[in-house]
């Protein structure tokens, strides 16, 4: 039976009451307790730093050459917090409300309220670490708007917010490394969870430089390994982002929550050809000022600036007047797909819409003229002044667009199209962020917990840091308080030996296949199946077909993959093979979950379930639950349901009109 362990009592008191009564571990005992942290992005680095500061013995692992490179670094737009510095009516309750609604009523009230509560402390902590957030002339912190909200609560550092927050957490982590509380293992990949007497007690990791397998003990293991968007092959994730650690945990018994909940981000640079290796996001913050449109005429091949105003369809403003270009991501993505599928797409592929800055440039230019009392100036001057303002706000994004496409976005509208960006699904965790395996935790994007069926912009950074800085440091004590009498277990224990052998056997199996097709080619084929049939729109027939195709692909992979090189050396193709093999298995579960969920909600859009005007049609009577899947062996799972109970929110048809 799944117990989410949500504390009782009124929503706004749950976290405080929990903190007031949770068990503690005294400082002397903390020094004896070892914690393994896999992944050093925002969640992992913040957890490692905080737990190290508290006195625990921490071992942290990342596959990159430094913890500063984790993919959190690429987050552009910002981080939400209910500070209400803008005096525009924000509050903890509003942030909670927006997040639950944005998630289409598929997230837990208790978790989300806690997230909103701790959001304000995150900003304080980051400022204290020296994170250089954007500021106003008065020296105070600046905010901007993001999708799915009507207040300005997003803190940012130009278009590099993730970078600055991660560097803050990374520096805090390196400080603990210097102090000896954290032992850092870079270029390491976790390949197995070690279980002893039903508890997570360590990991097997591969040293990616030497190829050696290593055994590491921990009284608890924290997976902070990010999301699984790369199952689609093309996504905004980094090339190395993978599901392997989470998947190994799943195969050892940890339930996987809502795997079909994936986020397709509306504003990415479109695919340019078959060689494409990844997709690049253009921050949601661009929708603050940019206007999205397509021509009113199908198949219009005129240049964008040759299309007169009255022949343009600003379809988001038309369909959703209340939120306009700032509707949530799932809504904006589907609307773009709808226009392109109907034949209104632009660019050579016709799979793109325009994101236009001409109005913003003019508006900002005029504001500058007023501000500096310039009187009557010509249009060229207004344009120049406007561009300067836009450059300060979004310069790095505009430069990136130009480098990739060769087009100047100050002159012509950007072409954008939705792309896979984030995964709301992940390892099932309870209120304490513990999976159903005792001693095994999942933090940040690796867990399923806070974003329901759709994540709002600027909430991923918030959740990663909330989990690492302010949640797990409290909740882990509740488990470790019972572990103070457990001495470190020798890594000669049979469970370690067996887990290492399992990892080693798998590597040898890979190398012995000696087939004819590259790992990359399998990954591309998997991505295409999932994108076509379990992407922005899904239906029963397609999902059933996808499952068949994935099973066939899996068979082919295990009989015909070719991996060059040797085991006992650096071998990136071997690393990739392990990740792709896991993605193939996950892909099947995603389709199964999407097939089982006979409703549309958030990013999960089943074509059979939509309102007459094409919006997602939820079925609260049958699907107001978390789908938690238990692994039962090859292509076999059991579904457990955790009912979602709304004491405060009143689930309703989400409307942004």
């Amino acid at each position: 039976m799944l117990d989410a362990k949500i504390p009782s009592g009124p929503l706004e008191n749950k976290w405080n009451d929990y903190k007031g009564h949770v068990r503690l571990v005294n400082p002397a005992n903390k020094r004896k307790l070892e914690i393994i942290i896999v992944g050093t992005g925002l969640a992992g680095a913040s957890a490692a730093a905080s737990l190290g500061e508290m006195g625990y013995k921490v071992k942290a692992f990342c596959f990159q050459d430094s913890p500063r490179r984790a993919h959190s670094i690429a987050a552009q737009g910002g981080i939400n917090a209910a500070k209400n510095y803008q005096n525009d009516g924000d509050s903890v309750f509003r942030l909670f409300y927006d997040t639950i609604k944005g998630g289409d009523y598929r997230a837990r009230e208790g978790n989300v309220h806690r997230l909103a509560e701790v959001s304000t402390s995150i900003i304080d902590q980051c400022v204290a670490q020296g994170v250089p957030f954007a500021r106003e002339y008065g020296g105070l912190l600046s905010n901007r708007s993001f999708g799915g909200t009507q207040v300005q609560r997003t803190f940012y550092a130009a278009g590099q917010t993730g970078q600055q927050l991660l560097i803050g957490a990374y520096q805090a982590l390196e400080r603990q490394v210097a102090l000896g509380t954290v032992e850092m293992h870079t270029r390491h990949e976790m390949l197995e969870i070690v279980m002893i007497d039903g508890k997570a007690r360590g990991i097997i990791a591969r040293n990616l430089v030497t190829g050696e397998l290593e055994r590491h003990f921990g009284h608890a293991v924290l997976l902070c390994t990010g999301g699984y968007g790369n199952v689609f092959y093309l996504s905004t994730n980094a090339m190395g982002s993978n599901v392997t650690a989470a998947w190994k945990a799943h195969k050892k018994g940890a339930y996987f929550g809502n795997p079909c909940f994936t986020q397709i981000h509306p504003t990415c640079i479109p695919v340019s050809g078959d060689h494409q290796s990844k997709l690049t996001l253009m921050s949601e913050s661009l929708r603050n000022d940019g206007r999205i449109w397509v021509p009113k005429k199908q198949g219009d091949t005129r240049k964008p600036y040759d299309i007169p105003e009255e022949e343009r369809d600003y379809y988001l403003e038309r369909r959703y007047p209340a939120f306009g270009n700032l509707v949530p991501r799932d809504v904006a993505s589907r609307a773009a797909k709808e226009r392109c599928d109907a034949g209104y797409g632009v660019g050579t592929s016709r799979q793109a819409v325009y994101l236009d800055y001409a109005y913003a440039i003019e508006r900002y230019g005029k504001a500058e003229v007023n501000k500096h009392n310039l009187g009557h100036v010509d249009a060229a001057t207004i344009n120049r002044l406007g561009r300067e303002v836009v450059k300060e706000k979004y310069g790095n994004l505009f430069d990136m667009y130009e480098k990739i496409t060769g087009e100047n976005p100050y002159e012509v509208p950007m072409r954008i199209y939705p792309a896979v960006h984030y995964t709301m699904g992940g390892l099932w965790v309870d209120y304490e962020l513990m999976t159903n395996i005792p001693g095994l935790y999942a933090l940040g994007e690796a867990n399923f917990s806070d974003h329901g069926a759709n994540r709002l912009g600027a909430s991923a950074l918030m959740q990663g840091l909330a989990d690492g800085y302010f949640v797990v440091p409290y909740t882990i004590g509740n488990y470790l308080a019972d572990e103070i009498r457990t001495n470190a277990i020798s890594t000669d224990h049979p469970a370690f030996v067996e887990a290492e052998k399992h990892a080693d056997d798998r590597i040898r199996t890979f190398m012995n296949i000696q087939g004819s097709q590259t790992v990359e080619s399998f990954h591309k084929r998997l991505g295409k199946i999932i994108w076509d049939k379990c992407g922005m729109a899904r239906n029963e027939q397609g999902l059933k077909q996808a499952i068949e195709e994935i099973r066939a692909l899996k068979k082919e992979f295990w009989s015909d993959v070719r991996i060059p090189g040797n085991i006992n050396e650096m071998n990136p193709e071997l690393d990739k093979a392990g990740r792709v093999a896991d993605f193939i298995e996950l892909g099947e579960l995603m389709c199964l979950d999407a097939l089982e969920r006979n409703e549309s909600c958030g990013g999960h859009f089943r074509e059979e379930y939509q309102t007459p005007d094409g919006e997602a049609l939820r079925d609260d009577a049958h699907f107001m639950h978390v789908a938690a899947w238990e692994y039962k062996g090859d292509s076999s799972w059991t579904l457990h349901k955790e009912p979602l109970i709304y004491d405060v929110m009143k689930p309703s048809q989400r409307s942004y009109k």
Partner: protein, 254 residues
Amino acid sequence: MQHSTMNLTLKVWRQRNSKASGGFETYPVPGISTEMSFLEMFDVLNERLIAEGRDPIAFDHDCREGICGMCSMVINGRPHGPWKGTTVCQLHMREYKNGDTITVEPWRANAFPVVRDLMVDRSAFDRIIQAGGYISVNTGNAVDGNAIPIEKDHADSAFAAAACIGCGACVAACKNSSAMLFLSAKVSHLTLLPQGQPEKRQRVVEMIDQMDKEGFGSCTNTYACEAECPKEISVTNIARLNREFLSAALGSGD
């Protein structure tokens, strides 16, 4: 954009591990689209090498958006290649013409030993940060984010310095393999903020000490670092570092 395909020749540094000696190998790479990124050209070449039963070329890369700092190639003698303010992963093939020969090497510096082919070990940078590249504030110790107003100019300058991605191009560009741009960017970032003041003396002294221990060379003001930095970190940071170091070394009079 008009796109076309080209036939190119790559001369790439191959080295099995840190102990082996390395050398250049030449590979024809036909059919490269002008729309590809430089790393996507390597993907194409590697796929072919694997199909031919040869070892693919190892290179560091991850985000492919120019922010993680992992990619690191010296292209025709220039770290990150010819585009100003651009990492290798953002360099696109429309820069090149049909028939071009391109030479690709790893970062070259004693403090960055080659791991394999084009990958190097940059853990020295992490150790420099460990020596003092932080503000000592435990989780939970912070005051309200708006309690201390920070002049916008200072915040903006701190941000500009903090934009460093730690890729090491500055070291690869410098004839002395100096890490001064990297180090000065961190010292500037933290010293420009009021939160960074209490530890500023100790920080600068200990970080420089660690840099010397790692075997990076001295700065002789050639500014090659600034010219090649993909984030266009300014050498004025080095001037600030020198001032901070001097004042820390000269006295703690106040």
